[in-house]
Symmetry: C2
Amino acid sequence: MKEFFEVMDIEAVLELAARFRTTDVEAVALQEAPGRVLADDFKAPADIPGFDRATMDGYAVQATATFGAGEGSPAYLTIVGSVGMGQRPDFTVGPGQAARIATGGMLPPGADSVVMVEHAEVLDATTIEVYKSVAPGQHVVTRDEDAAQDHLLLGAGCLLRAQEIGLLAACGVSRINAYKQPRVGILSTGDEVVPVENEPLPGQVRDVNTHTLSALVRRAGGIPMCYGIVPDRYEPLLAACTRAVSETDMVLVSGGSSVGTRDLTMEVLDRLARSHILVHGVSISPGKPTILAQCSQKPFWGLPGHVTSAMVVFIVLVQPFLAQLAGQRPTRSVRTRARLARNLASTQGRTDYVRVRLVNKAGEQWAEPILGASGLIRTMVQADGLLAIDLNCEGLERGAEVDVILFE
Amino acid sequence: MKEFFEVMDIEAVLELAARFRTTDVEAVALQEAPGRVLADDFKAPADIPGFDRATMDGYAVQATATFGAGEGSPAYLTIVGSVGMGQRPDFTVGPGQAARIATGGMLPPGADSVVMVEHAEVLDATTIEVYKSVAPGQHVVTRDEDAAQDHLLLGAGCLLRAQEIGLLAACGVSRINAYKQPRVGILSTGDEVVPVENEPLPGQVRDVNTHTLSALVRRAGGIPMCYGIVPDRYEPLLAACTRAVSETDMVLVSGGSSVGTRDLTMEVLDRLARSHILVHGVSISPGKPTILAQCSQKPFWGLPGHVTSAMVVFIVLVQPFLAQLAGQRPTRSVRTRARLARNLASTQGRTDYVRVRLVNKAGEQWAEPILGASGLIRTMVQADGLLAIDLNCEGLERGAEVDVILFE
């Protein structure tokens, strides 16, 4: 049946992500929310900080009273009170008056600015000399400067970093609605694959992919659910895939770089309930024999068996689908610029992802390609990121400026 | 007492990290190990993959038998067997012979390369024609190509990403020794600070710093332990700090941007058992009033109260200390190049950290400074990273190429 499929390019595959629904929404305590995705738009419930606040230690004043003040011609102001931290001042600052205030204190009515303590001198219990003028609003944060009531602060789909958590805390939010973390089923196939705990016989290798993909899923905010190693036979593979599809939000079957296993995965996909194949082959290297199907409304990936190929496909293709399931607004992968340390040939008609190590030489960042077959995990261990060589590019020359997608 | 201290520059503060000991070591299951730090050097216990392996579907051959083969002059080879996946072949491939093999299969003795299935044609049950020559080693991964026995694969202090987990799995490791995740005690001070759940009265603000710092600690691989809001008074602050120092590996007291609170923190540090102050003031903006002490051999930070200042100090200074406690080899923060979107003035003698948003314009990446007081959390929400303006620099001009430290 594979003759009906044409190799698709990366962009076309990524567009398919929009077919899939996000996970359900659940309430999450703020302290558990870092790294989660906000499910609702969030508007400021009130002005934040809610009052005019000093940003320096000093004296709350009316700025006009300091205009023209300088070393030779200080302004004389009368102290009318002190602002207690966390207190609303019960007095007013008029023209020619001042109030002691500490950083974070609430400006008394009448005051519009703060003279820094370093720019004033205490003459007696009720008088200060000011040596430097201030402008209205200086050393003050106004009552709605962090957030104005009803203003949209965070959109649905926002990934919550430390600062978004802080903003929610400032607004008095201790529980949010977040999308559930997608559960990702991971299956390894291959008659040569044995569990990590086993001593492989000659011809056997340990199950590297389950562990690698599981770490990638977790890093990307998903919950890995491992279904172990499934033999390269129709019945057990169908049973394991059926179970994984019913219990998770997305399935990754890895293994099957050989034609036989690939055909087997296709056969199983053909029989799975409510399943149809969307992609069979992607113009990407490594990773060409990638399969994507929709099974019971869920994405189902057949990943290459070579660990490096599986990782590249995960980073470039699977992760954006995971973000879609998690309700996350599209974000660009983290990139850095570097200069290429050697010539690289490439085949037109496919996007090549080359593993590179970043090295600093004479203040410049260089990307050194790591050579080695895509079955070698050490090539990923030695690498800091991936360099993409475009579909229409025949290669890159030493010294070329390139974008490197950094591993997270 | 603060007159005895001089403002220190960032490099000098970072050098102090080496004074502090790493956390203890514990055994961790491989599936729990992503993001943890390896405590021991790791050498390959055996050759990996341990046998010569095909990387393509096709025929295992002696390369010499294909030399000179081409479309017009195929080489004729005799099939002497098939390699089963996960099996050790019980036959030998001699000159002029070939064996069917799938990707990942073990090369039979005698064979040194693999002819791709696309480059051969089956003539009858025992004969193939080969249309393209192969070189010795082609389409083969050799027995120690991923790792050679006793070779150092990962050094102590290595942060375990998905690929290091994969390498350990390939070597049969299902449990590792990792440094314990440092516990970080977080205290907020300030009489104006109320818990997030409370409705602040005029003059009060909610406890943003506990939540923000807690999220940063977690993201950096530590375990946040929150001690709540402590009043700005000597006895309760001493009691809370004493408890935090005894229960954690590092303490962060935030708040105290006002001179009074700073002095109070210094007084408490003076009285804490086995405590001495290392740093009082750093040439960094925002964040100058940062305090670092050593208490019972543990780092104790007095962070500025303004949330943005506290975050900048965390990213630039605290995080490297956390990495030191966690046994992690020094790593550089993730950076990207961009062009500055407007002129920026800076004061010589201190390193300025400016919050920036990254914007793509006409294929170029620009860094747009976010303006606003360091008490405003929204300035961090709008930012993608920090731009450092060096100690000796008076400012940067629009269009300058700059390095942006990306938020993780």
